[in-house]
Assembly symmetry: C2
Homo-oligomer: 230 residues x 2
DNA sequence: AAAATAGTGTCTATAAGACATTATGTC
DNA sequence: GACATAATGTCTTATAGACACTATTTT
């Protein structure tokens, strides 16, 4: 079988190799704004600058695994339920160290779960409002922009919003997530009508109480994975 | 500026690096079927097996440039108008040689333009019907499947079809491209109504004659780039 | 009873899909 | 005039969007 024996000797060092990193754009929705998780770099290059969590892919791990690992190592955020490959950035001079190709990912995290903490190579880790990010290292501003446009598009034709919410949520909370990501207000009746017609939502026999007002029914998604709408 | 001076010495060889390749799924529509351009490998591994055109990314070229170069070198197909990044495949054992991460692209080519010819590392280059491909090397079957589903989705909300047609075409030819990619017949009146309502098409003062029947008006796209519909 | 948020229905406009006949060229 | 493909319109159904009031709980 030609996959296993090697009649022509193959020299893996015949070509100079680029480095490969993963970078992760982690989003959450809080305080009526979309936020992005950034780290303050503790090492050259861009030391002291804010950047996306990320780092070199190890020889023995897949790309998805590398993205999970780097997110956890640099920010303390573990077990992201939604982590999807975004795009691969490979401009020749995007990193001053050497040729670095970055496979970018984006993650969605439910609001209350995460308190970032600094990790390896990261002096700090912190949530920033997506519409007021500090200057970013490398081409990370472009990566964030790409991630934002992907997230907005995907919200329209899949059920990704589940990943930004706790397992049980009210319809108002769901609507708020949509409004935050799309950046505009939605009509309450139309939103509910449309959402309930998808059969993605399951009404629970529970209510959320809080404050001097009528309690809201809790719902959950029938599938905690991205589902195409319609 | 911390991007240029290097207070902490950075050793680019501190980590072992994976190899990075690009692989290209080139599509064309001909004989009422979607076709994919494959090469027969002339070297180990998978020597004698059919595979996607592709190869190692050079240190001095961007990813898009590498994809164009490999497509041309291995198949003789030059100047693909539509060549878009698809997804990056990085399973640890997808290549028997060493750790190889492949940035996959897909290209769309107008029907008559291309006569593939064998090139570097490729014993042969040939169009295959997408629904009857031979067994493919590496994980290339998965890459083709991903490309097909992306192409079908993109056809629904962008004007990518332009890239599969010559600059001037009839509405029947356009409809045929849609039918080939979607794998089902479309209603002629509804298709024309919808297409003409987009204002993407420009009617020309020309006709295509051929055979004992009424000639068809020729059209061109107003923009030869992917445009979002609606 | 005041305050605050939850919950609900109709009407209109637009888009999508089913469907058959006439028009115009070549041979 | 026979043949082959081009070109065209109506009706029905589904979807999206505008729009305002009542219900339920706490304090």
């Amino acid at each position: 079988m030609s996959t296993t024996d090697s009649p022509t000797p193959y020299d893996p060092n015949a070509f100079e190799r680029p480095s490969v990193t993963v970078d992760v754009v982690a989003f959450t929705a809080r305080e009526r704004k979309l936020h992005v998780l950034l780290i303050k770099r503790g090492v050259w290059p861009f030391e002291g600058h804010w950047a996306l969590p990320g780092g070199f892919v190890q020889m023995s791990e897949g790309l998805d695994a590398a993205a999970h690992r780097e997110l956890t190592e640099e920010t303390g955020v573990a077990g992201a339920e939604f982590l999807e490959q975004l795009y691969t950035f490979g401009n020749v001079n995007r990193d001053p160290r050497t040729r670095v190709i970055s496979v970018a990912y984006y993650a969605l995290l439910p609001e209350p779960s995460i308190s970032p903490r600094a990790g390896t190579d990261a002096a700090e880790a912190q949530w920033w409002p997506a519409d007021a990010l500090p200057p970013l290292a490398f081409d990370h501003a472009e990566i964030v922009k790409t991630a934002l446009s992907r997230l907005r598009a995907k919200l329209g034709y899949t059920s990704v919003a589940y990943a930004l919410l706790a397992p049980e949520f009210t319809l108002t909370e769901l609507q708020t997530v949509y409004e935050i990501i799309l950046g505009r207000e939605l009509d309450k009746r139309n939103f509910r009508k449309k959402m309930l017609s998808t059969e993605l939502l399951e009404g629970l026999e529970k209510q959320r109480r809080g404050g001097a007002h009528r309690p809201a029914q809790l719902f959950s998604f029938t599938k905690r994975e991205p589902v195409f709408l319609d």
